[in-house]
Subunit: 333 residues, 2 copies
């Protein structure tokens, strides 16, 4: 578990897109972000207060989170000076970069001296069990997609917000590095060894109150041949009571696979639901989340109406409309 709140390190980000992890933290857990730290030349700005390490520490920050992608896969000397200084001042560091903090000798040395922790959230820090398939108390919902990167994490985080607003008990359960940095904990599923994938999701979503919902962050797609095994492990390890179908209607082919067409929402439903019922015979598909970012407002609304009629389920774009109708559908289960 990563200690909160954070100071968000934007480094020398060349644009705002490269600071997308920091943006996610600011959007979804603003209470976790006391400020931003920028180096000269930084082109990203979250609209948070710019702080020095000392100012943020005085404001309560416990961890310096690298909220930006590094260029060329190298942690630069300019970054390292700040990171080492932060460790000396008592911060932990957290990162989702491919190059690990733990592989940088100078950071390891500084952390050892300060007693600080280096969190590389791409790397599992737990020896997960093999899944036992036992029924757990409490409820779970999982977003499954026609493709990768169609908005499953966004849907889950928006649903978490909407459920809390309704006074429901819910916890967003992160399964990827961005989600883990946003919430401070989770399972980096794509880095877990095959035999332990489903077990890691059981570990992530243990017994809970009967009226508590775990909102499990989805990964991959049953129809994406590169990652489908990860998705099925999520479905069987998560034993969801409810599925939400996610789709991006303008996508021309499966992400990164030009020869593969996207399935229809009907095919996704008819594939995912029977598989989910292996682990939880009561599972239902309760709603649909459409990512309409590449559509005009009127086109998006017309599309959502058509999908809702066709599928007979609440169909929303959580970015445009929030996820309250999905939360409402879960409230009835």
């Amino acid at each position: 578990m990563i200690q909160t709140p954070y100071l968000l390190f934007l480094g020398d980000a060349p644009d705002s897109l490269s600071a997308k992890v920091a943006q996610g933290i600011k959007d979804w857990r603003p209470e976790n972000a006391v400020g931003q730290y920028r180096l000269p030349g930084c082109k990203a700005d979250l609209g948070l207060t710019d702080m020095t390490l000392a100012e943020a520490r005085d404001a309560g920050a416990r961890t310096l989170v690298i909220g930006v992608a590094n260029r060329g896969g190298v942690i630069s000397a300019a970054w390292k000076d700040v990171l080492i200084e932060a460790l000396k001042m008592g911060y932990d560091l957290a990162s989702g970069l491919h190059n690990l903090l733990g592989d940088e000798e100078s950071l390891v040395k500084a952390a050892r001296a300060s007693g600080g922790t280096l969190h590389d959230v791409r790397v599992p820090s737990v020896q997960y069990p093999i899944a036992d398939g036992k029924k757990r108390r409490g409820k779970r919902v999982l977003a499954v997609g026609t493709d990768c990167s169609v908005g499953k994490m966004y849907t889950a985080l928006a649903l978490d917000d909407a459920m809390r607003e309704r006074g429901m008990k819910s916890t967003f359960r992160a399964t990827g590095q961005t989600g883990i940095l946003i919430t401070g904990e989770g399972v980096p599923l794509d880095a877990v060894v095959a035999d332990f994938m489903a077990g890691s999701i059981e570990y992530l979503t243990p017994d809970n109150d009967e009226d508590h919902w775990d909102i499990i962050e989805g990964q991959g797609s049953l129809f994406h041949v590169s990652y489908s095994g990860v998705t099925l492990a999520l479905i069987h390890g998560g034993q969801p009571d409810a599925l939400i179908l996610c789709h991006e209607p303008t996508r021309q082919h499966m992400r990164g696979l030009p020869d593969y067409e996207l399935p229809t929402l009907e095919t996704l439903r008819d594939t995912a639901l029977p598989l989910a019922r292996v682990a939880n015979p009561d599972c239902e598909v309760i709603g649909i989340s459409i990512n309409t970012q590449h559509m005009e407002e009127a086109e998006a609304e017309a599309y959502l109406t058509r999908v809702e009629e066709r599928m007979g389920l609440p169909s929303v774009d959580p970015f445009r409309q929030g996820a309250s109708r999905l939360a409402e559908a879960l409230d009835g289960l």
Copy 2:
């Protein structure tokens, strides 16, 4: 790739069951086994010539294969003396044990001195790619099961034999440690990191002659919640042209999961085939392999006849009958 032929190390095996890896090598690749090496008290006997390390080396053995499970998860001092002596004499070592040869300091030291290789086949030795889903030349067949441990590896090896007998081109592609030790190469799929599972199977079954069949060793089951993700990665990474359904009719519940019933063969077919067609639209189910080891001969025959009528597909027990009817079905594709 492990150098063949082997001397099979049976150690102080308490019974023949514990020497099941060695038995598999002797049954399926007798040409790989020049002899057996037994310690005092060994209760297993493969019926091979007992040889000293020197005798086997003179007979051409290149690798000493640990063909037996160790007791209590410890590589004993008695074993170690033999293993170190073998390294000194120029052998490589190969093992599928949970405790790795590479974690034993004395073996690592001896291997470094001799230039020998320690093969721990449970651990991937390759950085596999992420699957790209591109259509590959040549044909592939995969056995999928209603449950784990219903005879998928046996079916694949028997099919390999039967196809060669018909003069077909085939290669058994191992995906588990026993299969890897039998053939000397393969992918230890259950130990591969999630993101690379499907890619490891693409790597294992590359482009080949149009009339060549890769017979891919199955793992897990789509219906076994602990391992289903591994199975789906096999289906999508292998992009099989043909599936064989495997079943053990006396199994009362899914292996290790007392609350989970086995699916029917029809459900397995209707689940696996559409998923396989995501990666290969031409995939067909071509036959059924039934493990009747817990049935009397007459009962087994009656059961196979009933399944064949019900499913409209060749249905055999490859242990009792060989797999020639399955090979014949593939020959038509």
